[in-house]
């Protein structure tokens, strides 16, 4: 044991005293995932979730240490052939993703109570999703981008279909797989065309090419268009959104939560990175398309959500409309809108996880996943109802919750970049949004429910409190996260 320590010692010291940007965050997350699989062999299932949470806390700290250091990315003196680039954008989004993952793992402890024999597999896959998401926030090369997207997507295909004996879960997994692999192929095709015209996979070189002669190269433009289309599919923007409600509805609730929060934010981070880091030179060209897509996404997402009766489908359409708002940040590249995207992402993640933390125990107790599962919750469990109300209000963007400032921030950036009319449209769309978020609130406070006993466990309660508390805190004191990028 001591011997082992002595051998490792120089490495440990090196890790503690890093002077340059690293990708240790990513490596440790991978290790944590592998540890999960090993735990299955060693029969340590009971300890698994505390160990993962502790590991995530450690990874969070390692990630945070990168914030202060500037410089090229190095691991033990090597610079990784410029595959990855860790900057403050990466660190901030990684922090958000790790935080979201920690909340999700806290939920998973009770969610998978009845499926102990698969626990370590599930958890390992969830960690690999986080790993993929971290690749997405730090890629500097289109190969890494593709790898990241595939790591996340393939893990999600498995998780969406993880309820083997549930026909809807099977449908969700299969549908997601078919549509998703199609989108991946389009992405790959786009990458190939871009490589063909610019001669490189590297983001910096592509950026140079885009700025100098991107607009004159049809091959490059088509490649960019295909990549944008693939991303629009991944973030479920109209007209590539059809998979999302079905997949959200069929997947196990925890996986839905993950898709709606962690995965969506990571795709948006990657999208932003691609557009601002690689394709900025053809900004005028891509924006013409994105304006239409953003408008359509906000309108369609909000309007179709109005008629939804299933809570998960409702949140799927709400997620589509939120994708529309976040596209405004992708459009606003003339000023640095990454802070706005980050803040919006954080607010959205907190509100959605908070909502699901209430919804999952309610679904479990009532056996329904429709909005009327919440009937009478205001009388039965005022605390749960208050928590869900706050989450819904934050999603609807009503002050003093974080969702309001997020919306404000994104709208403000969009106006600054000259998209005033689109912003008015976004404002009108979010008024429509209020209606369906209030449908849930109305169900809780005005309808008579049956006497089903709903008992959220301690861990669910903690997650609710953390999410709602942070939503309030960020809404009142946004200085902590606003404008840090």
């Amino acid at each position: 044991m001591m011997q082992g320590f002595k051998i490792l010692n120089p490495y440990i010291i090196q890790i503690i005293t890093i002077k340059e940007k690293t990708v240790y965050t990513l490596i440790y997350t991978c290790c944590l995932g592998l540890l999960c699989l090993v735990a299955e062999i060693l029969n340590l299932r009971k300890l698994l979730i505390p160990v993962i949470l502790a590991g995530l806390a450690a990874i969070f700290c390692v990630n945070y240490m990168d914030w202060q250091h500037v410089g090229p990315i190095m691991i033990g003196g090597m610079d990784m052939a410029h595959m990855m680039q860790v900057d403050q954008f990466t660190v901030a989004f990684n922090g958000l993703l790790i935080g979201a993952a920690a909340l999700l793992f806290t939920l998973s402890a009770d969610f998978y109570k009845d499926e102990q024999h698969h626990l370590s597999d599930y958890l390992a896959i969830l960690i690999f999703i986080l790993t993929g998401a971290m690749v997405l926030t730090s890629f500097a090369n289109l190969i890494m981008l593709f790898l990241g997207i595939e790591i996340v997507s393939i893990s999600l295909y498995i998780m969406a279909g993880s309820r083997k004996f549930d026909i809807r879960s099977n449908e969700a997994g299969f549908k997601y797989f078919l549509m998703g692999s199609f989108a991946s192929a389009i992405l790959l095709f786009g990458i190939t065309l871009i490589y063909g015209s610019s001669g490189s996979f590297e983001l910096s070189k592509i950026s140079e090419f885009a700025a100098s002669s991107g607009m004159n190269s049809p091959m490059f433009l088509v490649g960019a268009l295909l990549m944008v289309a693939a991303f629009l599919f991944k973030v479920a923007a109209v007209p590539f959104h059809f998979w999302s409600p079905d997949v959200y509805e069929g997947s196990p609730s925890l996986v839905t939560t993950m898709m709606a929060t962690l995965v969506k934010v990571s795709f948006f981070a990657a999208f932003y990175r691609l557009m601002s880091g690689g394709l900025l030179g053809i900004h005028d060209y891509t924006n013409d398309i994105l304006v239409i897509v953003a408008a359509a996404t906000m309108i369609v997402g909000n309007l179709i959500a109005l008629s939804q009766e299933n809570f998960k489908r409702l949140l799927a359409y709400s997620g589509i409309s939120h994708a529309g708002y976040m596209l405004l940040a992708i459009l606003s590249l003339k000023s640095d809108s990454s802070s706005a995207l980050f803040f919006y992402g954080a607010a959205y993640v907190l509100a959605t996880i908070g909502a699901f933390a209430v919804a999952i125990p309610v679904f479990k107790a009532t056996g329904k996943e429709t909005i009327d599962a919440f009937d009478g919750l205001g009388r039965k469990k005022p605390f749960l109802a208050a928590m869900l109300t706050m989450s819904m209000l934050s999603l609807a963007g009503i002050p003093p919750l974080a969702g309001f400032l997020g919306k404000y921030y994104i709208f403000s950036e969009a106006i600054k970049n000259g998209y005033a009319i689109l912003t008015v449209l976004a404002v009108l769309a979010s008024i429509v949004g209020v209606y369906y978020y209030f449908k849930v609130i109305l169900a809780m406070y005005t309808k008579q429910g049956d006497d089903t006993e709903i008992k959220p466990t301690l861990l669910y309660t903690i997650v609710m409190l953390v999410c709602v508390g942070l939503s309030l805190l960020l809404g009142v004191w946004p200085g902590g996260l606003m404008g840090i990028l």
Binding site: F404, S412, L442, Y445, T446, G483
Partner: protein
């Protein structure tokens, strides 16, 4: 320090009441609201002694879009804060002996509402103001939703979405102002100074005007009002009509006139015409009403129409009249809705046809009700007279014909109010009025205070006029170039 206390005390009070349990919630809420009133009284005395400088608070709050925690209490704000904090204890007192279910939540929401209202009136930073403005919507929505009448669900949702739509347009307007401001901040002092081109002012005017017009409400944006007033519980109606709609008229003076003077110059005539049309329209509808609460709702619509008309008249008489009338209308309308509630509490109906002859059974109640009705029809020596006189004078200065139509409000107001009083209180004893116990102590106290204030303000309105006058003059100088 006192500003902070004045603002946050209701919030603390709301939490205390929520945690204190339902048994003594009403008493606790009343006690805390009286404390807040005492703090306000102290603030008034400080204001009289040393002017508004003592109240300014400025902290930077958000760095990157520059938002500051900027509060202030000049004469105009002080009048509004005083109105809010005077009416809140009365409103709480009116809920005594009514056995409200879930009382802790109910009174806590009322106090939370007070917090948001005080914040609206004191905020001197655009975004801060906006946050309080929106925050005020949430407690009143839940008050109406959980304690309201049978049709509450659809009606309150309409109310919420309608007003939120206006607010979001205002948010858009504020963001535009932010980018027009070369220093990029929401601070009111800078917003008062910035130059905005004629064309931009013209459409920005509508962004703000719509938000305020929905809240006030000005015809044709009033369709949420009568239903919401009827379906809300009495205290909710009082909060809405007594204080919340003053947010709209206050904001016209504070934000719209001085920031967008050219927009006001261009669209003001249309706005004042809408107001006057609304006065006549609402008065005529009020005459036809058979339901007491509906009648009061439409009468309120007519009165606030006149307030808004006085503001758009853009002269000092109109502005002063609007401030006095905001206070007077707040006091009167709370009294009127309380009387309606007392009648409903005894007889279970608000239909005027089923009532009558209450005078014989409850003389004390009749006297108090009479004074409040007289205040509302603007009899000289009551508070309504001062306000309406100044307002009509202001509108007359602006345009004679408009003032003729606006003046109808006094005649028509007397018609529907006195007819209502005759039907409800005088004559034969109505079918639903077999027994009518006279006022309980809490009702006597609340109505008594209101009656005293109605007469006192009517006899001696000078303190309010003096308090607001300098601010109004400055704002007027910015608006009329």
């Amino acid at each position: 320090m006192m500003t902070i206390l004045l603002l946050f005390f209701p919030l603390i009070a709301a939490l205390a009441v929520l945690l204190g349990g339902s048994k003594l919630a009403a008493q606790l809420a009343l006690g805390l609201a009286v404390v807040e009133l005492a703090i306000t009284g102290y603030a008034v005395s400080v204001f009289q002694a040393s002017g508004p400088e003592a109240f300014y608070i400025f902290h930077s709050w958000i760095e990157s879009p520059k938002v500051s925690f900027h509060l202030g209490l000049d004469g105009l704000s002080l009048v509004m804060v005083l109105l809010t904090n005077f009416l809140t204890p009365i409103i709480i007192l009116s809920a005594f002996n009514r056995n409200t279910p879930h009382a802790a939540g109910y009174f806590s929401l009322i106090l939370l509402m007070q917090f948001a209202l005080v914040g609206v009136f004191m905020a001197m930073d655009g975004l801060l103001y906006y946050i309080f403005w929106e925050l005020a919507l949430i407690p009143i929505y839940f008050i109406a939703l959980r304690w309201g009448g049978t049709n509450r669900v659809a009606i309150t949702l309409k109310f919420f979405i309608y007003t939120l739509a206006g607010s979001l347009l205002m948010l858009f307007g504020f963001i535009m102002l932010y980018w027009y401001n070369p220093d990029q901040s929401f601070d009111i002092r800078e917003l008062y100074r910035i130059y905005i081109s004629d064309g931009n002012q013209s459409w920005l005017f509508w962004m703000f005007f719509l938000a305020f017009a929905i809240k006030i409400p000005i015809v044709p944006f009033h369709t949420w009002q009568a239903d919401t007033y009827r379906e809300s519980p009495t205290q909710g109606t009082m909060l809405l009509s007594g204080i919340m709609l003053k947010m709209g008229t206050y904001s016209l003076i504070r934000w719209l006139l001085p920031i967008l003077p050219m927009g006001v110059a261009k669209w003001g005539p249309l706005a004042i015409t809408l107001c006057v049309v609304g006065i006549v329209y609402a008065s005529i509808i009020a005459i036809k009403q058979r339901n007491l609460k509906n009648l009061l709702a439409y009468s309120s619509l007519a009165h606030v129409g006149l307030i808004a008309a006085g503001i758009f008249a853009l002269n000092i008489q109109g502005l002063q009249g609007s401030v006095v009338q905001m206070v007077a209308h707040g006091v009167n309308v709370v009294g009127l809705f309380f009387c309606a509630d007392i009648i409903f509490n005894r007889t279970n109906t608000n239909e005027t046809n089923e009532l009558g002859g209450i005078r014989n059974l409850a003389p004390q109640f009749t006297t108090m009700f009479m004074v409040i009705v007289l205040g509302s029809v603007a009899l000289p020596l009551t508070n309504g007279f001062i306000g309406e006189f100044l307002l009509l004078y202001g509108v007359y200065e602006y345009n004679t014909w408009l003032s003729v139509f606006a003046g109808l409000t006094i005649i028509l107001g007397a018609v529907y109010m006195l007819r209502m009083f005759k039907k409800v209180m005088l004559g034969e004893t109505g079918v639903r009025v077999p027994v009518f116990p006279d006022l309980y102590w809490n009702e006597k106290l609340a109505l008594g205070i209101l009656v005293v204030v109605i007469v006192a303000m009517g006899v001696y309105p000078k303190p309010i006029l003096d308090m607001a006058e300098p601010v109004l003059q400055t704002i007027l100088n910015k608006t009329v170039i």
